[in-house]
């Protein structure tokens, strides 16, 4: 309905291969970004930043990473949490052991470390497929849980086992207030989102998808499975690692291995599935859904209880949350196995064809 595509013809390949080939899309996305940078800071309050926006941004980044691996390269992982942990702890160590290490480098180095481990734990993918691989990745999860709990070196032998990082700053600009934290994360996510988009529309992305869709054929046309898979693991882990570092540094401030438990891994996978495999946008939808839902339930359930005059205990609420969350996931998988992103693209197609139904 909003689309007016007449006259938007392409006279060069460069124009035909840009990210948004339709002017209306470009405008829309730029609008959203602008709003995120200008509008939201004016509207959101502290709670919004802490409880929703910052977690949403960081987890979107992580989900993006997972999606590159699961959605684009077709390699299931249940160890994403571990790579967040690696990112966080690696960055932590870079920061405390190398003084004067700039924050951004610290975070990126964390990501690189995670990427390295990603390659290591990706090796099984060369031999095993699907569910077997899923379980193999759990190995990474449990190993890291253990390592960061038991091997003192990583936590700089902190007595409590929890580590913390304080007074972050970039170029002498302190990142303390939620707003600053939010903007900091936003910059990261925007950049990384475009990087992800570029990768997926470039040769490497096609290699990943080829491996995902039909690995034998891919190999026959000269794609090296090892390179394709391991690069996917590396890039994915890098994204996830950076997200982990942000999670620890910016969102939590001080954390323990529990912050990156296997539940986190599942959570990230949920985001990808519900958001939509093989869709950049989907990662954001998924993250939003998973972040907002519990908060929403927390607000709504007691209210509902009051309505029917039932006093719901906090335990009761958490159980109810489990039930509702679980059933919602199942519901989603049933009605739209391709995730929210698919719904979105269907809607978009409809708009382009409006007023025609097809």
């Amino acid at each position: 309905m909003i689309y007016r595509e007449n006259g938007q013809f392409k006279t060069t390949y460069a124009a035909d291969q840009q990210i948004f080939t339709i002017a209306q899309d470009k405008v829309f996305v730029l609008g959203v970004i602008a709003f995120a940078f200008i509008g939201i800071p004016l509207l959101a309050d502290e709670y919004m930043f802490r409880a929703i926006l910052i977690p949403f941004l960081i987890l979107s980044l992580a989900a993006l990473g997972v999606n590159l691996l699961v959605g684009y390269c077709g390699q299931i992982t249940l160890g994403a949490g571990a790579f967040m942990a690696i990112g966080a702890y690696a960055a932590y160590n870079f920061m405390i052991r190398i003084d004067g290490m700039p924050l951004i480098f610290g975070l990126l180095l964390g990501g690189l470390a995670s990427a390295g481990m990603g390659i290591l734990f990706g090796i099984p993918s060369l031999r095993v497929r699907g569910l077997y691989l899923a379980v193999a990745t759990l190995a990474a999860q449990f190993f890291c849980d253990w390592a960061f709990l038991r091997l003192g070196w990583f936590t700089n032998y902190s007595s409590s086992g929890s580590v913390s990082i304080s007074n972050l700053s970039v170029f002498g600009w302190g990142i303390d207030s939620p707003l600053e934290k939010y903007l900091f994360c936003l910059c990261f996510i925007v950049v990384f989102a475009f990087v992800a988009k570029n990768l997926t529309r470039a040769s490497i992305g096609r290699q990943w998808m080829a491996i995902r869709d039909m690995d034998v054929a891919a190999e026959v046309i000269g794609i090296r499975p090892m390179w394709a898979k391991l690069s996917a693991f590396a890039v994915s882990s890098f994204f996830v690692g950076v997200a982990g570092a942000l999670w620890g540094f910016v969102h939590l401030g001080s954390w323990e291995p529990a912050a990156f438990s296997v539940d986190r891994s599942f959570q990230l996978l949920f985001m990808v599935i519900i958001g939509g495999m093989g869709s950049i946008l989907g990662s954001f939808f998924g993250a939003a859904f998973i972040v907002v839902l519990p908060i929403f339930l927390n607000q709504v359930l007691p209210a509902l209880g009051h309505l029917f005059g039932i006093e719901i205990s906090t335990a009761g609420i958490s159980h109810a949350e489990l039930i509702i969350f679980g059933s919602l996931i199942v519901f989603f998988l049933i009605v739209e196995p391709h995730g929210l992103a698919r719904l979105w693209s269907i809607a978009k197609e409809k708009l382009r064809l409006w007023p025609f139904p097809h």
Partner: protein
């Protein structure tokens, strides 16, 4: 030496329990191609049901006939597991036929959450004892062989025994009974099975029910050992490497895998743990499975995957 054998046997005992849980996985994977992450939740669910039913039954019976109470509770819990199986088939599986593995796996995670939620809402979320009158006292054996003999926990021993029996029963069930054959047929090829008139939906209910019973047994044993509590749900995580090791589709695989993992864990914990700060058994099991995978991607007894061009 004695100590080694002791740990070894301890490992075997623990392994048997892993096998029990692993068995649940294998059953369901065989028949419905679903990698059932909810197995742990089912164990918890079943155990909770068992514990509370026997508690209530006991009160109802005036507390003088624990055995009867347990029997009643067992059947009650069985019924509950059947309902669960039926509901799962009805509400979930039926609607997810022919989806890829990842999707189904997610679904079972969803189911897991629901089961945990419901279980704790109905049966409460504290720690509950299960007392099926397992002897707690250890026995000393083979004094003649090793000085000091070997201390074996009777409970473990019986548990292992039960597990062994269950495995035997299931194996027979699968090989001999028509239902079992039907299940195998379904596992091999849904369409084909349907075309020769095997009702998919019913088979699935049955299989999930059986898996439920297995979970119940596992739940009872673990419960009576450690008490029924939320952490039971995580036992699934412990059993995963077993399945991988044994091969997703093989019952004997689950057993052997269980034993290997059990033993591996105990030995590593005892002989390796101290040097690295302990607590390594979880990941060790996984590493074991992982390393193993690299050499035999389809697991010990799993069918080989050949890709045609």
């Amino acid at each position: 030496m004695g100590f080694f054998v002791e740990t070894l046997i301890g490992g075997l005992m623990a392994g048997m329990l892993y096998s029990l849980v692993a068995l649940g996985f294998v059953l369901i994977f065989k028949a419905s191609g679903v990698f059932n992450f909810a197995q742990g939740a089912m164990v918890l669910f079943a155990a909770l049901a068992m514990a509370r039913f026997s508690e209530w039954a006991n009160i109802a019976l005036g507390g003088d006939n624990l055995f009867l109470a347990n029997v009643i509770a067992f059947f009650a819990a069985g019924v509950v597991m059947f309902i669960a199986a039926w509901a799962i088939e009805r509400l979930v599986l039926r609607n997810l036929v022919n989806q890829e593995g990842a999707t189904l796996l997610m679904a079972t995670l969803g189911i897991a959450y629901v089961l945990e939620g419901i279980g704790q809402t109905i049966f409460g979320s504290e720690v509950y004892p299960i007392n099926v009158g397992m002897p707690k006292d250890p026995v000393i054996m083979f004094e003649s062989l090793f000085e000091g003999g070997i201390m074996i926990n009777k409970e473990d021993f019986i548990a292992a025994l039960i597990a062994a029996i269950l495995v035997a029963v299931l194996t027979i069930f699968f090989q001999k009974t028509p239902v079992g054959r039907a299940l195998r047929a379904v596992a091999d090829d849904h369409q084909a099975a349907q075309s020769i008139g095997i009702p998919l939906n019913r088979t699935w209910v049955i299989v999930w029910f059986v898996a439920g019973l297995v979970a119940l047994v596992a739940g009872i044993i673990w419960g009576s050992k450690l008490g029924v509590q939320f952490s039971l749900a995580t036992v699934a995580m412990r059993a995963l490497p077993v399945v991988i090791l044994g091969g997703l589709t093989s019952v004997p695989g689950a057993i052997v895998g269980g034993l290997i993992i059990g033993v591996g864990e105990k030995l590593s914990e005892v002989y390796l743990g101290p040097y690295v700060g302990g607590g390594i058994e979880i990941w060790f099991a996984y590493m074991l499975a992982l390393v193993f995978l690299l050499f035999r991607p389809q697991g010990l007894f799993g069918e080989k995957i050949i890709d045609r061009v």
